[in-house]
């Protein structure tokens, strides 16, 4: 799997994405400064070293992700700093929501909005607390949620890297992420060997998964695993499952010549999301770029 890159390479990756999929340029350009800032923040932020003794490898083997064994977002994490830094990037990429983002940034800066509350509320079972919090502070709930999802990605990706380094290799045979338990947003089938790797856009984790099984419902099918592809652009594909009616955008037999960022690849293939959703399929996970209406 080739998802690692030097931070300076992100601009080249985005430029290639724009060149290959000019029809999606508006969305790529909107997310470009955000993703570039996220990757930078992942390298720069300092987090408390996770206590990996809490993680039971036998539980992992049984399919219990790390998120069910330890806290992945802590109150002392630099959520405020990350949020303010990302708010600037959001304004750059998505000027239409600048006003709302400014309002949210001011509340965070003034201490009236603690980003951790966004993560604490749903984990405590208060599903509608996000809406309530946004309403109370008179900010757009969708814009606040959007910003917080970008913040969580930075913290989760950094934490996931540290956890993976501490854990070393372990068995994982599930279709959801071993770290955060989220379903994949995109898959990559390697050019050499044809192995399938799933990518979690929630924490940036990649893991190998069999090609003959649906990651979502685990239906194993050796004869009828279906996919759609674009004629003359066979790299652009989407695997579908007729049991659960989910799809997974897939980069098929993508080479290793250029560095790749799986999130940018996923955004570049947003037309596949449009096509699959028009055919009645749903994405395996709702992330910030595949909810189209």
């Amino acid at each position: 799997m080739t998802t690692t890159y030097e931070s300076s390479e992100i601009k080249n990756i985005i430029a290639r994405a724009l060149e290959q999929n000019p029809e999606n340029s508006e969305v790529i350009k909107a997310f470009a400064p955000i993703i570039a800032r996220q990757r930078q923040l992942v390298e720069e932020i300092s987090l408390k070293v996770p206590d990996c003794t809490l993680i039971d490898k036998n539980k992992l083997k049984a399919g219990v992700p790390v998120s069910s064994q330890m806290d992945l977002i802590e109150p002392e994490d630099p959520l405020k700093e990350v949020a303010l830094s990302l708010a600037a990037a959001v304004k750059e990429g998505m000027p239409n929501i600048s006003e709302n983002i400014d309002k949210i940034s001011d509340l965070i800066r003034d201490g009236k909005l603690n980003p951790f509350d966004f993560f604490k509320a749903p984990a405590d079972g208060k599903g509608d607390a996000i809406g309530g919090l946004s309403k109370k502070l008179q900010v757009s709930p969708s814009n606040a949620s959007f910003l917080m999802s970008l913040v969580s990605r930075v913290v989760l990706e950094r934490r996931a890297k540290e956890i993976m380094a501490a854990l070393g290799p372990f068995d994982w045979e599930k279709g959801y992420c071993p770290i955060c338990g989220e379903f994949p947003s995109i898959a990559l089938i390697e050019e050499e060997g044809g192995k399938r790797f799933l990518h979690c856009s929630s924490c940036g984790q990649d893991w190998r998964f069999t090609r003959i099984c649906c990651p979502y419902c685990e239906k194993e099918e050796r004869k009828e695993m279906e996919y759609f592809y674009v004629e003359n652009k066979k790299q652009e594909a989407a695997f579908v499952c007729d049991q659960c009616k989910k799809y997974l955008v897939t980069l098929y037999r993508a080479g290793k010549v250029f560095a790749r960022d799986m999130d940018i690849s996923a955004i570049s293939l947003i037309h596949m999301d449009v096509l699959m959703q028009n055919k009645g399929y749903e994405p395996m996970t709702a992330c910030v770029w595949n909810v189209l209406s």
Partner: protein, 195 residues
């Protein structure tokens, strides 16, 4: 705070899911138009994958065969990365599998005949070719058949014909070739994969 998987999924969807791109002020019209164009021009193809086993040798490598759902034709054959024997790898013969399908434009689809001493290929049909091949093989075999050797020992063999097997035939075809060759009394039987 303890986040269970269910809880975390709730967290994730609460902070990130359900945010429509249009709510972020993005114009999706060019993307939608492109997707519509792909669909209208019938450029979005549906295919299915089937796993199978390579027929060539006893190793038993796994293959993934992709078939176009509309035409029923094979569009790709590749090694099965999840197969415990080959883990996605294929030998030169296996990697060339796809060229045996009708997708290979250079594949011969008609009988071509070049007469002894001739310089040009002529197209013939199977009704002409099969009896002729059978006749020539039978005549050569009958003319050169040896019931006994110089010592008078029973051998029942034909040394005038050899059979050189193809690496592009499978185990079952190899078995038929072998039985046919031995029935004719052939002793020079070999296979490309062995040399």
């Amino acid at each position: 705070m303890k986040i269970t998987r269910r809880g975390f999924l709730t967290l994730s969807s609460a902070v990130g899911g359900g945010i429509a791109l249009s709510g972020l002020g993005l114009n999706l019209n060019p993307t939608r138009a492109y997707a519509e164009e792909l669909d209208k021009m019938n450029r979005v193809k549906a295919a299915k994958q089937t796993t199978t086993i390579c027929c060539y040798c006893s190793v038993g490598c796994g293959l993934v065969c992709s078939t176009d759902k509309t035409t029923g034709k094979i569009i790709n054959i590749e090694g099965d990365a999840d197969h415990p024997i080959n883990e996605g790898s294929l030998c030169a013969k296996g990697a060339g599998f796809f060229d045996l399908t009708e997708a290979n434009k250079h594949r011969l689809t008609k009988v071509l005949y070049r007469a002894p001493g001739g310089t040009k290929w002529e197209e013939k049909d199977w009704d002409w070719a099969l009896p002729r091949m059978a006749r020539l093989i039978k005549d050569t075999r009958d003319k050169n058949f040896m019931k006994t050797n110089a010592k008078g020992e029973l051998v029942n063999r034909c040394e005038a014909i050899g059979h050189y097997g193809s690496s592009n035939i499978d185990n079952e075809e190899c078995w038929i070739v072998s039985v046919k060759s031995r029935a004719l009394g052939l002793v020079y039987i070999d296979h490309q994969a062995r040399v």
